[in-house]
Amino acid sequence: MGPININHMIDQITFYVIAAIMLVFSVMTVTTRKILRAAVSMLFVLVATAILFYILKYGFLAAVQLTVYAGGVVVLIIFSIVLTHQSGQKMSKQSIWQVIAAGTIALIGLALTIFTISEYLFQPASEPAIESSVRNIGLQLLDYNHFGYAFPFEVVSILLLAALVGSIVIAVKPSKEEKTIDEPTVRPTTNNPVKH
């Protein structure tokens, strides 16, 4: 073995620490009975994922992950927890059969996938790597000739608009006027023939 490359070792150590953090906190997310603690554990998992993207040299993806997931989604989930739960309240215990069934399904699936990926021969492409800079990402994202992603980009912006409007329509509180619209007594009296 040649001289030990310090940078490689730092990468390896970072990856295994990140992997341990992700696994521990994701287990805490699905097992703890305090729901706010589950949300905070999920935040740690998402931040660890952002660091993993960063050491894979996808800096832009790490930034998107941090802003949208860790900044947006977690805050939204914590808001809804605060709106729907008493503070300090524990969730009800799951039945033991449910836990056993879910654990069995998850373990069987995990064993199957790990067996499959350990059998599969991954063959890396031999072409030289492209630089994953924001410039390259933006050029391909808004390109509509050379395998660009302009059309999915537009579709996903329409989807975001639809989700925005839809969540407002679903969550809006029915106002008092709408509730009493079919009672004839509260209608404004514009049809009265007073002016004639």
Binding site: F15, L23, T29, T49, A106, P124
Partner: protein, 104 residues
């Protein structure tokens, strides 16, 4: 980063996926089920990025798929939370066992 074997990262992301599946099947609180779905989508994102870096480093398709998954996940979470809040107004609980209005 290339000196960490690909299969180690894949094992981590698959374990994350099935932890999410376990949470989705065993929890009965709607918000924690939503969090499990987020874990699942997150592990899929890791898979896309890792395959892109290790197997096809000459293109950026995995990055785009991860970005679109993040956008879809954000809109999904906003809609799901609107539904949860609406449900809470009707039932005063978000436990899926107790919201049985459409049960026959």
């Amino acid at each position: 980063m290339e000196n960490v074997p690909l299969i180690h990262i894949l094992i981590v992301s698959n374990t994350l996926f099935f932890i999410g599946v376990y949470g989705f099947l065993s929890r009965r609180n709607m918000i924690t089920m939503l969090m499990s779905i987020e874990l699942i989508l997150n592990s899929v994102n890791i898979n896309f990025a890792v395959f892109n870096r290790y197997l096809y480093p000459h293109q950026l398709e995995g990055v785009f798929f991860s970005m679109f998954i993040i956008a879809v996940a954000a809109s999904e979470v906003s809609l799901a939370i609107a539904i949860i809040i609406n449900l809470y107004r009707k039932f005063k609980t978000i436990d899926v066992e107790e919201t049985n209005l459409m049960k026959f």
